[in-house]
Symmetry: C2
Subunit: 260 residues, 2 copies
Amino acid sequence: MNDKRPLILVVNDDGITAPGIHALISFVKSFGEVIVVAPDKAQSGMGHAITMNKPLRLKKYGTIHGAEAYSCSGTPVDCIKFGTKVLAKDRKIDLVVSGINHGLNSSINVIYSGTMSAAIEGALEGAPSVGFSLDNHSLDADFSGCENIVRTIVQFLLDIPRERRYCLNVNIPDISKEEIKGIKICRQAKAYWDERFVERQDPFGDIYYWLTGDFIYLDEGENTDVWALKNNYVSVVPTQSDLTDYNAITTLKEKNEFVQ
Amino acid sequence: MNDKRPLILVVNDDGITAPGIHALISFVKSFGEVIVVAPDKAQSGMGHAITMNKPLRLKKYGTIHGAEAYSCSGTPVDCIKFGTKVLAKDRKIDLVVSGINHGLNSSINVIYSGTMSAAIEGALEGAPSVGFSLDNHSLDADFSGCENIVRTIVQFLLDIPRERRYCLNVNIPDISKEEIKGIKICRQAKAYWDERFVERQDPFGDIYYWLTGDFIYLDEGENTDVWALKNNYVSVVPTQSDLTDYNAITTLKEKNEFVQ
């Protein structure tokens, strides 16, 4: 009860067996007590999904780099809820750390990303939080170049007063430590996914589809995360969860068109 | 090909059999050609999830109030992608209409909501879009009081030039038409869910959990959606998908703390 070491909750969306979360635990374990809760299977692209219509299972996984680890049958956001409400018991989480994702979550990908939705849910629970993503989808990705970046940002988030808490979306280019030019504070670049469905036929003659697509980049700004990554910087986008379009409020009110 | 009637895509998150989407189709069908794609099962709380790791099925459901309807094995956002990329073929969707959700999607619920994530995905695809939700979770909810509101807002969105397109989150109190005081343009109220896990034991002695919780309202503003609904107004929050916290960018840059 007198443990003054920070309580750090580690989650991800690639699942408890993903190399990215094992690397992340190894990078943050010296900062405090670490609790790990991750999905029991890959949950990429789950966005801010929560499990409402079916029961959830939580299983002890064992220890990873000395940290107690659990797997959960739900989504990344469910993992945050298990971490803060069940595993932390009556203790406060000092920091939520999500990732390291196998693949970037820059630009519009933030809204599809389980990694970042978990970090945002941590922020809604009142904890400083950060999601890390590396520009490499492979299971064999080398996360060692992320260590210094992860440790710098985690140290910063633990050092500042809790009322100044941030929710950071950190994306890391897949290049050597020496090639990384630094860390840039950015805004989310404007972009969207132009999807295609690839059609296949199953052995029974029925059609099914794979969702695939191209990332369409609409932004020329030099203050965006996509620009930073292209130019060998680590991008840091502070995020929040108010989706209100304030400019549209102004226009709608000025025009007073459909308000009865 | 010379069909100048608007092409309207109707989706939801409660599934193709939900009374809310059937009511919505009946309210919008006179405005143009209607295509319906909805999940083949309830997908509440799916947020902005997309289906990346498994193939998707699309099935012809039949007609609902004269509109061609399809069910999809995926999420509400997947439904938007099927509607715009497969079913609309090379035609442009003029309006995405999502709902009517059985239950409110005001305040922070917007980020968990499949209904609103579908509307936001429609906006990312360049279409004006709107999600409707009624403050009644029951399958027996009476949607007839929503007709005038739905038709007013749909008419407005179809009348304005496409470049002025909005993505609107419309929540409707579950009271009689006569009691509704009007439509209010609002911002998203600050709030969060304080969750609990209800523990149960299965017949094999293993523990499972149900996610439940209380809505914690943190906002005193009279310009919020929660205020409007409490005071018998329909709330309309224009939404967008840039999660950047611009105030935090300013603070982080001023303090210049962890930038290398």
